[in-house]
Structure formats: structure tokens, C-alpha cells
């Protein structure tokens, strides 16, 4: 397969899939009956496609589920004019719930409520799940066996992230005054939340 032909197939596939495609999926896609195509060749083609975009209004982006072409951020306001509807805005309650699930997964609804200090509405949990940003990844082995939630790859894709690592870092807890010192330590022991371990489970999906 010629180089340019390979590039063309990959470009066409990424533009029609309607979702990001992983390197693995691209390997399968371009594999011929006769011969397969190395991951290296595909990586090269992707790099070349990326370079082709340098001056253009779209870019090749690598997110959690793979590669996709998307509009450059600086053009987005103008492109948004194509639609009558404004982009959805999310409430603080929903974003705080999402943040807690993202940084503290696996987490139960009850635990979210404890940290936020208010109950979490069912419609927020439903909205997060319908968006496929969040899903039930198991049940905590305590009475009532409450569901524990985690974020999905679609969440990462939507927010232009490759992995949970790329989430903005949580602010450090500032040193507490004397009497609270111990509490502070108790907290600092907790590793800065890096749910890579969880990532494995989520990725398995």
C-alpha cells in the first residue's frame, strides 16, 4: 500500500467514523487480505496528517478513545453560528458532582453528598449517565450495596483529555493552623488522586 493511499484511508475513516478511532482500530481497518500494516506506518501517516493540518482550521487530536479531527478552538465561536441552539451549560451542582466522580472514583452517591453537604438530585445522576460521562462500575460492599460511579472514556473524549492524569490538579490543602495539624496530615497521606488504577477498569469497557 502506498504511503498516500494509507493516509487517505485513515483520513477518510477518521472523518466518517463519527467517533475517535484507536490505533488498534486503524490497524484492523487498513489491514489487507494479503498483508497487514505496521503500527509504525500508521503512526507515521497520522503524524503526516497532523502536519497537513498545521495551517488549517481543523486539527488531528488524540483523546482517550483515539484520534479524531476537530475544529480548532479559535474557530469554534464562528462555527457555533451554524446552529441555532447555544451549547448546553451545565449547573454547578452537576459539575461539582462530575468533579467528585472524576477525582474520587470509585465513589457512591452518598459519599458525593457528604462532601458537597447537600443531596444530589436523581436527574443529575441520570443526565451524567445519559451523556455517558459517568457509569456504575460496581457496588460497595457495605449494607445496601450502593452503586459506585466512575467516569468513562467518553467523558475524557468530550473534555479533550487523554487520561484522568490530564485533569487539572486539585488544589493542595493549605496548612491548617496548629490544632488541626493532625487532620491535615491525615489528608495529605491520601495520594493526590490519580485514578490510573481505576482507569484500567474503565478502559476495559
Amino acid at each position: 500500500m502506498e504511503r498516500s493511499q494509507l493516509k487517505n484511508i485513515i483520513e477518510a475513516a477518521l472523518l466518517t467514523a463519527g467517533r475517535p478511532l484507536s490505533l488498534e482500530q486503524l490497524v484492523q481497518l487498513v489491514a489487507d487480505e494479503q498483508r497487514s500494516c505496521s503500527r509504525g506506518a500508521i503512526r507515521k501517516a497520522l503524524e503526516s496528517l497532523e502536519a497537513d493540518c498545521a495551517e488549517r482550521g481543523i486539527e488531528l487530536k488524540y483523546v482517550a478513545s483515539g484520534y479524531r479531527f476537530q475544529v480548532r478552538q479559535e474557530l469554534a465561536p464562528r462555527i457555533a453560528r451554524l446552529w441555532e441552539e447555544r451549547p448546553p451549560r451545565y449547573s454547578r451542582a452537576l459539575l461539582e458532582t462530575l468533579a467528585l466522580i472524576a477525582y474520587r472514583q470509585p465513589i457512591t452517591r452518598g459519599e458525593i453528598e457528604t462532601i458537597r453537604g447537600v443531596s444530589v438530585s436523581t436527574s443529575i445522576m441520570k443526565t451524567l449517565q445519559e451523556r455517558e460521562w459517568v457509569r456504575v462500575i460496581g457496588h460497595r460492599d457495605v449494607p445496601g450495596r450502593p452503586a459506585v460511579y466512575g467516569t468513562t472514556r467518553q467523558f475524557l473524549d468530550y473534555f479533550n483529555l487523554r487520561s484522568l492524569d490530564e485533569l487539572p490538579a486539585l488544589t493542595e490543602l493549605v496548612g491548617l493552623a496548629r490544632p488541626q495539624r493532625q487532620l491535615d496530615l491525615g489528608h495529605a497521606d491520601e495520594p493526590r488522586h490519580r485514578p490510573d488504577a481505576v482507569g484500567a477498569v474503565v478502559d476495559g469497557h
Binding site: 472523518l15 476537530q70 487539572p168
Partner: protein, 273 residues
């Protein structure tokens, strides 16, 4: 709020201390002489007692690690009272927090004979919760600021070729639609007392037709939407549809003078009082 002595008078007047519905708020309505509506918006903007407390702490430029508990409790209670007076729905969590604050206050007042090393500041737990919540409040803002699809970027797509192996579209059956409808109604608890009548559907369909026509053509003479060849039943359906559209404020009837032809048009912006 009315006669409470301000905790700390000094604060930068230009620093927004709260974001209400996306708008930075640099000044809290100082007393009750503000329209209750505005206050309501303000109060509803709190995501719960922790949020409210953090706001009070910021507002008065307090050190979160050394909260003057008596003063903050008084302020907190004033808000809670205010919400009650305005008959805002007050989540139970606000009252639980009120009880917690009162308890901390009384423990702070207890004389401490010997200061033991292990003794914990009565405020410790509250401080921990406030800080923990604040981190995630910030994290939520950070996530909101991430460039995201449908707002800061859009997926680029090209059409698949038309002939041959074109991209298949998902297949749906009428049953799927019906089951989905039943499901959503059941969830909305409308199912038991709501049956869809064939008749009402034909009216619904006619409503869409009339509305689409008016949206496309603007003014249309009332009589023009009736197709006489449809017979009495058809005309009745159209009439019902027009009446329903008027009721739902989707279209309006206009008549220049008595006995002049009646026109229909899509509902306009009416002057709001």
C-alpha cells in the same frame, strides 16, 4: 442581615466573592431593601450550607483556619431565617449545619482547664469539610473551563459515499418508538391516567402542519388552511388544531377590522409587562 454588625469591614470591593449564575458578584445586597426576587436568585445560587459558609468566609475575608465561630454562626442563621421568611424551600442540610455551628459555638465557650495536647479544636471537623468542599468546587470550575466538544470544538465529519457501502443508519421500528414513549410516560407517572387517543394524534399532526405552514408563509388567511375535500371530519380536526395552537401560544389570530378576513400568523413577541 439587617442589624448585624459587619464582621470585618475591610474587603476589596472589586473582588467578586461569588459567582451567581455565571455572573461575578462584587457586592452583596447590604440589607433587606432589595427586591425579594433578586435576593431569591442570590440565595438559590448556593449549593448548600458549605457553599453558603464559604461565601460568608470569603465575603468577610476570614481565615478559614481560624473562623470566628460566633460571628459566622450569627450570619449563617440570618441567611437561614431569610430563606424561611421568603419561603424558599430550605433543604434539611441547612438546619443540620445550623445545629452543628451552634454546638461548636458552645464547645468553644466551655472553659478549658488544662490544654491537653490531644484535644482537638472544636472547629476542626468543620474546617476539614469546608476545605474539602472548596477543592471540588474549584475542580468543578476547572472542568467547566476545559475545552469541550459542542462548545469549544466540534467533531469534523465528512459524508460517507452514497452508493455501495454507505454508512448504515441505525434502524428503528415503530414498536421501538412506542415502547420508548410508554417508558418515558411510565417514568413520568403519567401512564395511569393518560391514554393517547387516535383523535388527539390527528389533531397533533394537524397542529404541526398548520404551524409549519404559518412559519414558512407568515400571514395566512384563516380559511386557507381548511381543505374542504377532507369533509366535515377533516375540517373539524383543522379547527381543533388551530384552537389548540392558539391556546398553546404558538399562533395568533389577527383581524384588521370587524368582518374583515381573519389571518393567522406565528405568535409574535408580545410586550412583556
Amino acid at each position: 442581615m439587617s442589624n448585624a454588625a459587619p464582621l470585618i469591614p475591610a474587603q476589596d470591593p472589586d473582588t467578586p466573592f461569588a459567582i451567581v449564575r455565571g455572573e461575578p458578584l462584587t457586592e452583596l445586597p447590604a440589607d433587606l431593601y432589595i427586591p425579594p426576587g433578586a435576593l431569591q436568585v442570590f440565595l438559590e445560587a448556593f449549593e448548600g450550607p458549605l457553599d453558603l459558609l464559604l461565601y460568608l468566609i470569603k465575603r468577610h475575608n476570614l481565615d478559614i483556619l481560624d473562623i470566628p465561630i460566633a460571628a459566622i454562626t450569627r450570619q449563617y442563621m440570618e441567611y437561614v431565617e431569610l430563606m424561611r421568611e421568603l419561603q424558599l424551600e430550605l433543604a434539611a442540610e441547612y438546619l443540620v449545619m445550623a445545629a452543628m455551628l451552634t454546638e461548636i459555638k458552645s464547645r468553644m465557650l466551655l472553659p478549658k482547664p488544662v490544654k491537653s495536647q490531644d484535644e482537638e479544636d472544636p472547629r476542626a471537623e468543620l474546617v476539614r469539610r469546608l476545605q474539602e468542599y472548596e477543592r471540588f468546587r474549584q475542580a468543578a470550575e476547572d472542568i467547566d473551563a476545559l475545552p469541550r466538544l459542542e462548545r469549544d470544538t466540534f467533531l469534523a465529519r465528512a459524508l460517507s459515499p452514497e452508493v455501495g457501502a454507505s454508512k448504515p443508519l441505525p434502524q428503528v421500528s415503530v414498536q421501538d418508538v412506542l415502547l420508548a414513549f410508554k417508558d418515558v410516560l411510565r417514568r413520568a407517572e403519567m401512564f395511569s391516567h393518560h391514554h393517547v387517543q387516535r383523535e388527539s394524534l390527528s389533531v397533533r399532526e394537524r397542529m404541526s402542519m398548520v404551524l409549519a405552514k404559518l412559519t414558512a408563509h407568515g400571514f395566512t388567511e384563516f380559511t386557507a388552511c381548511f381543505a374542504l375535500h377532507e369533509g366535515r371530519a377533516g375540517v373539524t380536526v383543522t379547527l381543533l388544531a388551530v384552537l389548540e395552537l392558539i391556546k398553546e401560544r404558538l399562533i395568533e389570530l389577527v383581524q384588521a377590522a370587524p368582518f374583515a378576513p381573519i389571518y393567522m400568523r406565528p405568535a409574535q413577541d408580545n410586550v412583556e409587562i
